[in-house]
Assembly symmetry: C3
Homo-oligomer: 160 residues x 3
């Protein structure tokens, strides 16, 4: 990444499978064109970064409840439309496989390989009681100031 | 459209009436100021481009199910809030008529007249099993690369 | 505010507590870096600007129904996720207090102190039957043209 690359930033606020897929398709596309891409994960978007397995960390009561109620990782996210108690996500995953489209975990891996900067919002991590041990390896941690710094330099800034 | 016009792009991801109306009001406003405007329809946003009438095309089982479950065209979209089993959209349509606001089908027509580029995302068309015959005439077809090309040149880029 | 400041615009379309908080955190952050920031409130986003108390204004039947069904002010908004009949917002407010995070009404106050321009979309005010007396003091009123003028000059434009 040089200073001359075009920049793209995405705030992923939503915790739904379809929106996360859209965010990563745009991010991976921009990275393929040598943009410096940052995805800033905040609120429910953080759930896409959670590890699949249960991680044992000390938490207060409310933090435990949030952790239980929120989907644990990219494989568990629901749909923003036509969720139908989990049938919708299965249908989408099925058609994506059939069309050889990358799954969300594969899209995240590709993004990391391409150098897309994945940044977890530390303020909402605090609020929701999420700890670094619970999130994917190789990501960064920052607050809104860092996001604004990136966004002010970027041509394309999306809130998803 | 010359090369010197300012550019505006909108990704319409959402399939709801209120969000589609917001997208087209912004797009038509920008076009009125001589911006080159592109709306890129992806995921549920594609439903706003579906023709009203049933179009007979050969489809697999899942594609038929998606086609059945998703709203067919701009007149059938629901609301993101206060849908109330369809009463919400009726109320909104009623007050829009009362205030002489353009309906969504009229906003789409105006956009086409003003030269707003309506682009259907071919990747999600594949996933959802939507075929060109089922979508409005006069639209374009492209993938995420084309969107990124437009967005990198634009001043205003929104994800709706 | 001078002409040389960087500009940031946010369209707040959504009427949910979590999205409104995200919008105001970004807006206040940008204002702290001396950006000229405008939040343009449209559709359900207008509910964040409603006064807490009931305001008596003359309205038609549909307008009365909208006024009843929509949340009255920043304290009454629901969550986009895990609303659970109002328990979710209570949990979020509780953890925000515990972490000394500003509440939404406090974030709005801070934004006004920092000179963030809060603009109510007059077109959707008409549609939803909201009148100036019902909205917070010290805000501005404009249409989509004013928004587009601001957005065309801004580096960061988000739709939330």
């Amino acid at each position: 990444m040089t200073m001359n690359n075009e920049k793209t930033t995405i705030v992923l606020f939503s915790g739904e499978l379809d929106k996360a897929i859209a965010a990563f398709i745009i991010a991976n596309g921009a990275a393929a064109y040598d943009h410096d891409v940052t995805i800033f994960f905040t609120f429910w978007g953080l759930n896409a970064l959670r590890k699949d397995e249960k991680v044992f960390v000390k938490k207060g009561f409310l933090e435990k409840m949030f952790a239980k109620m929120m989907p644990r990782g990219a494989n568990k996210l629901g749909l923003s439309k036509m969720h139908f108690g989990g049938m919708g996500p299965k249908m989408i995953k099925h058609v994506m496989k059939k069309h050889n489209a990358l799954s969300l975990p594969e899209l995240i891996e590709l993004a990391q390989e391409q150098g897309v900067k994945l940044v977890a919002c530390t303020m909402t991590m605090d609020l929701l009681g999420l700890q670094k041990e619970e999130l994917l390896d190789g990501i960064e941690y920052a607050g809104v100031a860092a996001y604004l710094g990136d966004a002010a330099d970027a041509k394309v800034n999306l809130f998803i």
